[in-house]
């Protein structure tokens, strides 16, 4: 896997009071507005996760995933992870889970292009 293909972030999967938190990396060579990045889906241990109440966190800000398309002036710094927060879900610290993440990128200077990226990893909950 090339570095630019990585979408599950180095910080992995954590469980806390707010729910599960999954680190995501932007699969592009430069920072992009969040409005051009779509979380295409998450499965945990083969089960699709309902993302209707998911939140996205980046650099001290957060917003509902459902409103990601409105984030035209909030930029995902390409070297940093963003985090997908899944409220109401929990996992035991140290337990292992197979996580699949899909991220679709539509670079804002290339009309009509969308690139879909999928990564599957076994993550140990921290």
């Amino acid at each position: 896997m090339l570095p630019v293909e990585r979408i599950i972030g180095e910080e992995g999967l954590t469980s806390g009071a707010g729910g599960l938190r999954l680190a995501m990396r932007l699969p592009w060579y430069r920072s992009l507005p969040f409005s051009t990045v779509e979380v295409g889906g998450v499965t945990i241990d083969g089960e699709p996760v309902d993302l209707s109440d998911a939140q996205v966190e980046h650099d001290g800000k957060s917003w509902p995933l459902a409103e990601q398309g409105e984030q035209v002036d909030t930029f995902w710094f390409v070297r940093d992870s963003a985090f997908l927060l899944l409220p109401g879900r929990a996992a035991a610290p140290g337990s292992e889970h197979v996580v699949s993440l899909t991220i679709n990128v539509s670079p804002p200077y290339i009309p009509g292009m969308t690139r879909s990226n999928v990564q599957v990893e076994t993550l140990q909950v921290a």
Binding site: V4, S31, S106, P108
Partner: protein
């Protein structure tokens, strides 16, 4: 101000995309590594790759950048800015006034950090140049539009820009040739990456033929795809083989002569320079003398794009590329 009489050598930090994305270096350490290896002093930085506060850089951020520049002795020549028009996928692009303002924000940031020019893109519609150019004049920063594959000197978009350049007649606007538009062949390292992804030799043979045919890049990609699907090649293999259509074109290397006069900066695009200082795909021995003999005194930044398919040592590649350029320029 130092007056130069020959092309200068430098590097774009884009060459180190793999090292950057995999967090091998933070920004100050990447700058220090470039300086330590003697790959500067002239550098280009993509604002949206290395600057967290882009497109609106604060005074404090700019001051910290200038501290690193002073410490390393690097010279921030070019800041690459972007024409992001399609902020809502599937919807209409942003309006002209918003796009002009988006450019002004980036120009202000580049100036504040001490860059002497910006790289901009043809995605900025040519009719907006009369609105953007006066702002660059006011800031005293030059703007070079990147002539990148599939574009080249003879492309209609380049010609439309040239007519507007003539009309505006301002020293702040110029060209930034990217040699990927005049590649002589597909780099073998790119073909090897497709082989590693599983592409069959018959598919790559066909790719090499179709890539040389006349026509638009996306049409050629479509032609290869149609043929390959009919032959039973897997979509993933076709995708791996098709990268060449999107980053490289085979226009005449000597065609750059038409743009030398207004060239303010150069992207020395390359894919792999071997131990004998020969680049795999782009014929530098034919191209560089055009600029040397044409009086170009700006910077050629080494731009290794092999990272799009390969994880070779980018620092070594840049070092060889710079040695190759120096050798050709001195010949």
């Amino acid at each position: 101000m130092v007056t130069t009489t020959a092309p200068q050598i430098g590097v774009t930090l884009y060459s180190f995309t793999n090292e950057w994305l995999s967090r091998q270096f933070d920004f100050p350490d990447l700058m220090r590594e470039v300086a330590r290896r003697g790959l500067g002093p002239n550098i280009e930085i993509i604002g949206f790759q290395n600057f967290k506060e882009f497109p609106d850089v604060s005074d404090d951020f700019a001051a910290r950048f200038k501290d690193i520049v002073a410490e390393t002795g690097l010279n921030p020549v070019s800041c690459a800015i972007n024409s992001d028009r399609f902020l809502r996928p599937g919807q209409q692009p942003i309006d002209d006034a918003s796009l002009v303002e988006y450019h002004k924000r980036q120009l202000r940031s580049a100036k504040k950090m001490g860059f002497s020019l910006v790289r901009y893109q043809f995605a900025l519609p040519v009719h907006l140049l009369p609105e953007v150019a006066p702002y660059a004049e006011e800031l005293d920063i030059r703007m070079g539009v990147e002539v990148h594959a599939p574009m080249w000197a003879g492309h209609p978009a380049v010609q439309a820009y040239a007519e507007m350049y003539d009309k505006l007649d301002t020293p702040v606007l110029g060209w930034i040739p990217d040699f990927g538009g005049t590649a002589s062949r597909i780099p073998e390292s790119m073909l090897d990456a497709a082989r590693r992804a599983g592409a069959a030799e018959s598919l790559l043979d066909r790719l090499k033929l179709v890539w040389l045919e006349p026509g638009m890049s996306h049409e050629k990609a479509g032609r290869l795809r149609e043929w390959a699907l009919a032959q039973g090649h897997a979509p993933a293999h076709i995708q791996a083989a098709s990268l060449a259509f999107f980053i490289l074109s085979n226009n005449d290397p000597l065609s750059w002569a038409q743009l030398v006069d207004r060239t303010i900066h150069i992207h020395g695009k390359f894919y792999g320079v071997d131990e004998n200082l020969v680049e795999e795909a782009i014929d530098y021995a034919a191209i560089l003398p055009l600029f040397r003999d044409g009086g170009f005194t700006g910077t050629i930044v080494s731009e290794w794009e092999g990272h799009a398919y390969d994880t070779r040592d980018a620092f070594e590649q840049v070092s060889r590329h710079q040695a190759m350029c120096r050798q050709i320029l001195a010949s």
